[in-house]
């Protein structure tokens, strides 16, 4: 895991689109008021790509990611995942989608407090079709020696790494991370980002990562900027920097 020492490849292995988002809108109705969270998003996520989403608070990043992950349903538009339309899927189908295809990492770790690190990972491996073992997944995030610790016995960064192990243990096609380093200091953040980058590179997992931190954009294949429910800028990094070189 000394990836940080090398130069990163600039493009994903293939150019095939895993997600195809068209005219995506989302309106939240709160009584009389309606809030337009997404105002027509068009986006393609390529297989094996690591994309970073940037944007001001409230611009709709999480809303977009949640719809991509099958946690929320869109108001209009389509989201094609490998040609299947997620916006038309029912709860049962979305559950299967999350179960077999998607790995999530969130700002607040979302550990099951009553289970150890190993068991938190096993929660997912038990229901997956071709998972790695929990031990293997935890080794990928350098937590072999903390496997039998409960979340309350782990630091925030360690918990987030368990969350990453849990997200990738089923070998998902997609890894969705919503501010994974939001609650962490910069040093810890780097180790978490390293884990994410490593997985993207080694397993080819398509990854979308939301952050408020411009610097983190430098590790992505592509940086996508959002503003007020729309994508306003997309930029391919000609030169990616490994997480270990990021400072803020």
């Amino acid at each position: 895991m000394k990836a940080a020492d090398r130069e990163l490849e600039t493009g994903p292995a293939t150019a095939e689109a895993l997600f195809e988002v068209r005219e995506l809108t989302k309106v939240y109705l709160m009584g009389e008021v309606s809030i337009q969270a997404l105002r027509g998003v068009d986006l393609r996520l390529l297989s094996g790509e690591l994309a970073v989403l940037l944007g001001a608070s409230g611009c709709g990043k999480s809303t977009l990611l949640n719809i991509l992950g099958g946690l929320d349903v869109a108001t209009g538009g389509t989201v094609l995942y490998r040609g299947r339309d997620l916006t038309r899927a029912g709860d049962r189908e979305l559950t299967r989608y999350r179960r077999y295809e998607v790995g999530f990492v969130f700002q607040f770790y979302n550990m099951i407090p009553s289970l150890t690190a190993r068991e938190n990972v096993a929660v997912v491996t038990e229901i997956a079709t071709d998972p790695m073992s929990p031990e293997e997944a935890l080794a990928l995030v350098d937590l072999e020696d903390r496997m039998d610790h409960f979340p309350s016995q782990l630091s925030g960064g360690q918990q987030q790494r368990v969350a990453i192990a849990r997200a990738i243990a089923k070998r998902p096609a997609v890894l969705l991370c919503d501010e994974p380093t939001g609650a962490l200091d910069s040093k810890t953040s780097v180790s978490v980002l390293q884990a994410i980058e490593d997985i993207n590179r080694r397993l080819g997992t398509t990854t979308a990562l939301i952050t408020h931190n411009e610097v983190i954009g430098e590790m992505a294949h592509r940086v996508i900027r959002m503003s007020d429910g729309r994508i306003v800028d997309e930029r391919v990094n000609s030169h990616r920097r490994p997480p270990s070189e990021l400072h803020w």
């Binding site: 999480s62 949640n66 992950g69 946690l71 929320d72 709860d91 049962r92 559950t95 299967r96 989608y97 999350r98 179960r99 077999y100 998607v102 999530f104 969130f106 700002q107 607040f108 979302n110 099951i112 407090p113 009553s114 289970l115 150890t116 068991e119 096993a122 929660v123 997912v124 038990e126 229901i127 039998d148 409960f150 979340p151 309350s152 849990r166 919503d178 609650a183």
Partner: protein
């Protein structure tokens, strides 16, 4: 508070149930004791009573001189047989004398309708209200009485109530039969004439001066009346009506403490859990308030007020329900206890007691949470609560643990994490199960009791009593009466049993060895054989007297030449109904110093010839009464249904509501505490069914663990209740059938399934996205 609506409602229901039982009992107790005291005082209910063979009137003067005696009423009392136009069954009655055209000094009558007999009128009678109602009799109606073999036509002059017969029951019966048993009053001269008692009396009732000793007066009356065939003076406690009334009051008192305590205890427990949760949720607000300078007492008051509100709502509902139910029960009591009026009113004192007791429960439930809220230092409260500490338990280390799925593991960890709370939940649900068991146990037990009494113990279908003892051969004659299959005679003799300071007035029943119609059984329904001499007695009585087989009991014969003998207790029998003492009949005859005689008979009769046979029996001059066992059985069944079973029905309903409230409460709290976890699992791709399992499994395990607790506690409650409800009239046997256990379990499972159903809806609506937004 909005999100806690369901739980608040559940707690309010349990509080309401507790307050309701309390209010019912208190209103009833208050009404009955108040009415009884007033009626006894205003209508001068006697305090010492005595029956005797015959004493000349002047003896009354000696009774008046006994120190401590206030008023003395001498009277003539006689058994009578009645014929009611249009009613085929035999009717027995008791005739009591009235001073010519006046109210007696003691045991005055309350006239419901009509008037007392006119002086010198020999054909006018006052009849008891219950009897008059049963036959729709009114003043002016006529009935026929067979007095000493002759038929007399009587006219009803009035309908009355007496403090002596509030509970109107024949001495040999266990429950009132208003159609077949009457109390009548007529002028003394006429009655004395009919029974050859002119210038004499055979019964006396006296009131006492304030502060007089009842025991001394009883002893003095006994001494004076003994030469006149006195059968033992006694206080009110041996007047049947009064005894039933006080037994009833004791039972209500027992219920007034036990049931509300159980319900309010459960409510306090639920409040404790709920308030603890609210305080944990509102730590931050508490801290802010404290930072703004609110005092601890103000914060404590706030939470006390919150609890108080929940309890107040429940208590008010309980008071209203209790008053309503008591009103319904009032009808039952008016039927059994014949007072001029029973004032079932909700008095302020009762309301206050209800509020105070439920307030106590509220305080008990709130104190823990309030103390932790008040004791929270402001800075501490601003921090999130310390993370839960979980441990890997024995289950994980076992082989089984390795095969456990993670969701199931989550269930076990959560349960093990809060062993105290988990056990309290188990206890709460267990208590509900226990109540269900107690409630349903009574239904089976009463059925069982009646079965034993009427299939095993008393196998006759007809019961005959004679005015006086008759020679044995009367039984042989009875056997030849057409329609009689089988007949057996018995001898009943009034006695007072005494052991040490305890005494009990009853009759010894002399039975023939090998009786086919009257069984004697031990606790395991094995026949007990009659000893050649010595007595057997109902275990209830042996326990009351504190004697064991082999001990000697002093038997005072209250008939004929009054003698006191020491008789060994040969053994005990177990009978659910009544209090009996048994002896070999000839041995009893010898004890009384008479030849082989009987004064009653039991028959098996041919059903188709019953009516014909009955009129024939009634015509026999020696026959004082004819009774049908089927009637007695029907009567007791009805009585038990009216009294305990109605109450137990209410109890069942309440137990069901408790079971539901506890389970639902647990489930709601578990849901609230785990929403984030469940949402996370949904995000990770778990189906709704799979995450529901985590909650339902937890509820299920608690419920299953509660079943044996309920069985155990219920069995204990049932045992205690069967002991507490043991009265002279009946002893509900302690039989808990598998059916009862199954019923208790089914009730808990249904309540639990119902709350799971309600919870399942909420699980479906869990919002995955919102759970990801905040750190708890």
């Amino acid at each position: 508070m909005r999100s806690l609506r369901g739980q608040v409602a559940a707690i309010a229901v349990v509080v309401a149930a507790g307050v309701m039982t309390l209010i019912i009992s208190l209103i009833t107790l208050d009404a009955l004791t108040g009415t009884m005291d007033r009626f006894y005082r205003d209508f001068r209910f006697g305090q010492v009573f005595a029956d005797l063979k015959r004493a000349p009137e002047p003896v009354a003067e000696r009774l008046r001189e006994v120190s401590g005696v206030n008023q003395v009423e001498i009277r003539v009392r006689a058994a009578v047989r009645l014929e009611i136009p249009g009613f085929a069954d035999p009717v027995r009655g008791q005739l009591l004398s009235l001073p010519e055209g006046r109210q007696p000094e003691v045991n005055r009558l309350y006239l419901r309708a009509g008037r007392l007999p006119m002086p010198e009128r020999a054909d006018e009678v006052v009849v008891s209200e219950a009897f008059a109602e049963a036959h729709a009799l009114e003043p002016g109606d006529r009935l026929k009485a067979i007095i000493r073999g002759g038929l007399e036509e009587l006219t009803i002059s009035g309908i009355a109530l007496s403090p002596e017969f509030i509970y109107q029951i024949a001495p040999t019966d266990l429950v009132p039969d208003y159609e077949r048993y009457a109390i009548l009053w007529m002028n003394r001269r006429a009655l004395a004439q009919a029974y050859a008692m002119e210038g004499a009396f055979n019964s006396v009732a006296v009131t006492l001066q304030a502060g007089a000793s009842e025991d001394l007066v009883v002893a003095e009356l006994d001494r004076i009346l003994a030469p006149y065939g006195g059968v033992g003076a006694h206080g009110r406690d041996e007047v049947l009506s009064h005894r039933f009334l006080t037994d009833e009051l004791d039972q209500i008192r027992a219920m007034a403490t036990v049931l509300p305590a159980v319900f309010l205890g459960v409510a306090a427990f639920l409040l404790h859990v709920l308030m603890g949760r609210i305080v944990r949720r509102q730590r931050e607000q508490i801290a802010v308030l404290k930072a703004f300078g609110y005092r601890n007492t103000e914060i404590a008051l706030h939470y006390c007020g919150l609890t108080g509100l929940v309890v107040l709502v429940g208590a008010l509902a309980g008071i209203a329900l209790g008053a309503w139910a008591a009103d319904g029960l009032a009808g039952v009591y008016r039927e059994y206890f014949r007072f001029p009026e029973i004032d079932f009113r909700l008095r302020p004192g009762v309301i206050l007691t209800g509020l105070a007791v439920s307030g106590g429960a509220a305080l008990l439930g709130a104190i823990g949470a309030v103390r932790s809220a008040a004791g929270l230092p402001p800075a501490e409260a601003m921090r999130p609560p310390a993370p839960e500490r979980y441990r890997r338990g024995w289950l994980d280390r076992s082989v089984f643990g390795r095969w456990l799925g993670q969701p199931t593991r989550i269930i076990f960890r959560n349960l093990a994490r809060h062993p105290f709370k988990s056990s309290l939940s188990v206890l709460g649900v267990g208590l509900a199960g226990a109540l269900l068991l107690v409630g349903s146990y009574q239904f089976n037990a009463v059925e069982h009791m009646i079965d034993i009494q009427y299939r095993l113990v008393q196998r006759m279908d007809t019961h005959l009593t004679f005015h006086d003892p008759v020679p044995e051969r009367a039984i042989a004659e009875l056997r030849h009466v057409p329609g009689v299959y089988h007949a057996e005679g018995y001898r009943a003799a009034p006695v007072r049993l005494a052991v040490g300071a305890r005494d009990y007035q009853t009759s010894i029943l002399g039975l023939d060895t090998g009786s086919r119609l009257r069984g004697l059984f031990d606790g395991n329904h094995r026949p007990v054989s009659l000893p050649p001499d010595g007595v057997l007695m109902t275990r209830y009585l042996a326990d009351f007297l504190g004697v064991a087989p082999g001990d000697r009991v002093s038997v005072e014969l209250l008939e004929g030449a009054r003698r006191t003998l020491e008789v060994p207790l040969a053994g005990t029998v177990d009978e659910p109904l009544g209090v009996g003492v048994y002896m070999e009949r000839r041995a009893l005859n010898r004890l009384i110093r008479e030849g082989p005689a009987v004064n009653g008979a039991w028959l098996l009769v041919e059903e188709s010839r019953r009516n014909e046979l009955f009129s024939r029996l009634w015509e026999m001059p020696r026959v004082a009464g004819v009774g049908m066992m089927a009637e007695a059985e029907r009567g007791i069944r009805e009585h038990l249904t009216d009294t305990i079973l109605v109450f137990m029905g209410i109890l069942l309903l309440l137990a069901g509501s408790i079971a539901f409230a506890v389970v639902y409460n647990n489930a709601r709290i578990a849901l609230a505490e785990r929403t984030r976890e469940l949402a996370t699992l949904r995000v990770l791709g778990f189906t709704r069914g799979e995450i529901a399992w985590i909650l339902i499994g937890e509820i299920g395990i608690l419920t299953l663990a509660a079943l044996p607790v309920g069985w155990l506690a219920g069995t204990l409650f049932a045992f205690l209740l069967s002991e507490a409800m043991s009265v002279d009239m009946y002893r509900i046997p302690f039989v808990v059938t598998p059916w009862t256990y199954a019923f208790s379990a089914a009730g808990v499972l249904v309540a639990s399934a119902f709350s799971m159903l309600l919870i399942a809806r909420r699980i479906r609506d869990i919002d995955m996205v919102s759970a990801l937004k905040s750190a708890e």
